[in-house]
Amino acid sequence: MSMETLFFLEVTLAGLGSGALLSLTALAFVLIYKATKIINLAVSELLMMGAYFFLAFAAGMGMSAWLAIPLAVAGGGLIGAVVERGIIRRMLGESPISVFMVTVGLGSVLIGLVELVWGADPRTIPDFIGRAPVFLGEAYVSRKIFVAFLVSGAVIAVFLLLFRFWRGGVALRATATDQAAAYSCGINVPGVFSLAWIIGCATAAGAGVLLGSIGGLSPTMGAFGLSALVVVIVGGLDSPFGALVGGLFIGLVEAYAGTYLGGEYKLVATFSILVLMLVIRPYGLFGTREIERL
């Protein structure tokens, strides 16, 4: 294998790795959107909160990583539950843009909170993955990205199975299809809303721990969530499968753009795709096309 193809392969693998992480974050968007028709921009900040929770448990209290990870994920879920019951439930029936802005405000509050407690400087979290590089054939992959890929893949697979076979997953899909019909079938729709927020935010927190272990923590790490926003638009806002495909696609685009054009082209490449996608196919690759009636 020549050096160029090997290099290309390594870039591809790195892109797929960060793409899997993007998919996982996008899944948090999709879960919440599917159930409640709300784009939760605070997912970015929940990512950050998850990572900082892990920092607090693992570095601050000296817990082992295997205890700190579930606690950080649960912390994200708790925020989701509190926000859903405390704020979002009150906003039922308001225009989607109002609820969207509430999540923007929530993100701002969380950033302020993190800066208040942990300060604005970047931090690193205790290493729990290890550093030894992984070789697939001849190609080198960073161990952290490799692990992130495996974990994200496993979690997404579990989610896809849950949507298919678990009662709660079916209830969520029913609610997404038709709220009133779901109600009349005896599905606890408000319960589904809470569940979607809790699981969505917990997923985001988990993705945040992985992201933080790769790139370190800072109050601005939520910017990663913006790329995930592109993923959900490309994949379709209400399609978990779309999140998977879109995440891998955007991960690859970012990796290629970052390597062959230069790091500053990463964001602009993905957001050009976003704008193009919105003009050509606003409901995404796998999303449901909404038909508007008068």
């Binding site: 843009i97 405000g105 950033i111 602009v268 957001f271």
Partner: protein, 347 residues
Amino acid sequence: MLIATAKESYRADQALLTNRAQWVWLGLLIAGLVLVPFGANAYWTYLACLVLINVASATGLNILTGYTGLVSLGHGAFMALGAYTVAILEQRLGTPFLLNILAGGAVAAAIGMIVGIPSLRVKGLYLAIATIGASIILQFVFLNWTSVTGGSRGINVAPATFFGTEMARPSELYWVIMPITVLMVLGAANLFRTRIGRAFIAIRDRDISAEVLGIPLLRYKLLSFAVSSFYAGVAGGMWAYMFRSVGPESFTLLTSIFFLAAIIVGGMGSILGAILGAIFMTMVPELLRFAVAFVAPFIDNAATLLAPVRTMVFGLLIILFLVFEPQGIAEIIRRIRRSWHLWPFRK
């Protein structure tokens, strides 16, 4: 109690000011605006200028989001376009400042129309996300088109000169910023008495119905984007003369969120709302600074608290207003006026 409010002509019905009390308020406002630079010290004059710039920009966003119903998170990028245009014209050509500011508005309007193209296909949240995309692309251009924009270092702006006198300090610039802002707000208020403004409102209320009624959506949506970006561009131009340096960090996504928050807090689809919202959102961080200075003797490192507390309060204000007062400050004012008018009867 206010009585005899029946109107006898359309003209009277459409008038901006309908009773004497409003004329009195307007007179007081104008007197206040004229007196600010005489009564206030340099710091408060600076704040007044900042508030006025934000009022102009928020009014522009209100035309687009509040009246036409097209949510934009690209307003900061349009301001940046105006600011960069002014900076480049001032640096390269040295043209008169009024012309520069107008050119800033025109450039922003032209690009704004391009950014508005997705609005024909998508609306609501999708449009908001499309405008985020557009503003990130613009940000990229500002940062990397180094030969024109100066890259990450930005451009320094020479002070505006008026017949040879330099206007570098806020107390002098105030006489540029105040009249322009007043003109723009007046323009916006009058816009909604015209055919175009009413078409905007019809599109907001239901765009498909508006199209059925014979309003060309393409033309009016792009027009709304153009007008709104023009406002942002002019505001950005004034900003450039005030802060005298424009860089890619001057206007970020947070700026766009700030203005959207300002019109939400003030009251969407209300001229007064945008004004009040801009004043409120600009002044709250300043008041927080006084609050932090007040508690500084009692808490260690109080100064480091300021930035995070500002961020939190900013978010909290958005949440609290949307949950408890979705119509914004304008609705509070309306409620007070109503109870005043109906006095001595309740409600």
